[in-house]
Amino acid sequence: MRHRPIHLLLLLALALVASTAGCGDGASDRAAEPAAGPRKVVATTTVVGDFVKVVGGDLVSLTTLLRPNIDPHDYEPSPADAVALARADVIVSSGAGIDAWLDPLIVSAEPTAGVTVASKGVTLRPGDPHIWHDPRNAKIMVANIARALSRADPPHAADYAANTLAYSAQLDALDAEIATQIGTVRNPRLVTNHDALGYYVDRYGLIYVGSIIPSFDSSAELSAAEVATLVEAIQFEGVPAIFTEAALPPRTAEAIGREAGVKVVSGAGGLYGDGLGPTGSGADTYLTMMRHNTATIVRNLS
């Protein structure tokens, strides 16, 4: 046993560490060159991504981290996401805690761009991050995004401002439209898959009976007692239908629906609580998503 192979390997490993540690941050290789061409923007959620597209148009090259119908809590970071963050000129997050899962990745990618939090300035419901379901909040988010884009790309500030103005008008129109439609519902009592529509309920005066998942995140489960209470409430309040989200498995909702004897609105025809629908679903932009939700609610509760 003349060799000490283990010790040699230790030295090798340490040498390797020393050399890579001395490489410095990757950021130095990508020193800020003022790029021509579209600004690289990374958005965390589909909703924020849509807003970025609206404000930026062809001036931005957008990467959205979350896919439609993927539960944010199931998000698994990929090298492509990290690279996109590292190279981004602007990073936009939704805020209020809904993209907390992405924070370690954002830290790890060491981006040169700072993170713009779209929810800045929005009045929050305690613990509820689904702020965009109130179009007034959407306006605030869009304004924040426009500001960030203008900072990163001053020559085009005017374009961003113009796009924002136009879109804000559409958001106002959407707001009025939903208010009218909800107004036609006799019994606006809402039971949903999880408490994603709090801002919508508040804005349009719906009555929230309860949710099948008793928290703001989608992986929790109801206890037997809670299920019984919910079923009772559904029957007592005379709720004609309960709603699930397209992104979440409808089994629990279906079970409760059977138990309570009411219709379950699920699948692609259900509601979009956590984000936008996939391309071609009829709910792949913010405006179409909100209109889809409204139409679905109105149709089933009338």
Partner: protein, 285 residues
């Protein structure tokens, strides 16, 4: 080629991932040599799973995950050694029960936290993209300790593997040696938590050494080849996972990719040596 092999490591997160992969590949290959020589791969597998509940508890308690994992690793090694030293090797059923029970306990613990699935996946399968500088240094430190343990007891561990009765007769306590090796194994599990998680770490321990065994004569070369294989797989797995994601939009979990690389290497080498043996049956080993 440069694009494939070098460019990914211009990013800090890839550099850190690389260092971690290389360290655990190297340490796993070396510690695994003793596991393979002692023929305790199944025991080692059970042992790696007993670390999981301790890590789960540390995670849920919100304390430093490293510290909790280390405590869990040491506790597992001690309890496991006391329970299994001097038992007959055929105690498969007991081991299987132990393995599944600990695993279930760990899942139960983690599931008490709302929205636990994501965290569970991280603990079980690792998440190498989010290691920070402190994680890298801690991984190296743990790796160095694990190597120190087996390196300082090399002759004793080999003796026990080759001639357990003889070793015992000469006064080398089987419990002490088993404890040392089990401790080294759990240290590898802790070090590899972020890269591959608890489910797959056994591959890092067994496959490089088993492959090295096929192509080397003598233990020194086996250790060296095992370490090199482990490191090569760490590097390759990382590159493949990166390229698949960035260039092709395909998601391949890094930890699992490393394990697949190791398995393919083993299959190739095993097939190659089998063919060589068939065509030259009189080769003296």
């Amino acid at each position: 080629m440069r694009h494939l092999l070098i460019e990914p490591f211009e990013f800090g997160f890839m550099q850190r991932a690389l260092v971690v992969s290389l360290v655990i590949g190297c340490v796993g290959g070396i510690v695994g040599t003793y596991v393979v020589l002692r023929r305790i791969a199944f025991f080692a597998d059970t042992l790696t799973h007993t670390v999981f509940p301790g890590v789960a508890i540390a995670f849920v308690a919100g304390q430093s995950l490293w510290l909790g994992a280390l405590l869990a690793g040491v506790a597992s090694a001690v309890l496991f050694s006391l329970a299994t030293t001097n038992r007959r090797v055929g105690d498969d059923a007991a081991m299987a029960i132990l393995l599944t029970t600990f695993f279930a306990v760990g899942v139960m613990v983690v599931s008490r936290v709302h929205s636990y699935t994501n965290d569970l996946v991280t603990l079980l399968f690792g998440r190498i993209l989010t290691v920070d500088r402190a994680d890298v240094l801690t991984t190296i430190a743990i790796g160095v300790v694990a190597l120190g343990v087996v390196g300082s007891l090399h002759k004793e561990l080999v003796f026990r593997a080759f001639d357990p009765e003889g070793a015992r007769a000469l006064g080398f306590s089987p419990l002490a040696l088993d404890l040392a090796l089990n401790l080294a194994v759990t240290l590898v599990v802790v070090a590899a938590l972020q890269a591959v998680g608890t489910v797959l770490v056994i591959a890092l321990l067994v496959t490089p050494a088993a492959t090295a065994r096929l192509v080397t004569r003598g233990i020194g070369p086996m250790i060296v080849v095992g370490a090199l294989l482990g490191m090569a797989a760490g590097y390759a797995g990382l590159i493949i996972s990166y390229t698949a994601s960035v260039d092709h939009g395909v998601r391949l979990a890094t930890g699992a990719t490393i394990v697949v690389v190791l398995t393919v290497a083993f299959a190739v080498v095993a097939g190659g040596t089998w063919i060589a043996r068939r065509s030259a049956p009189t080769v003296v080993a």
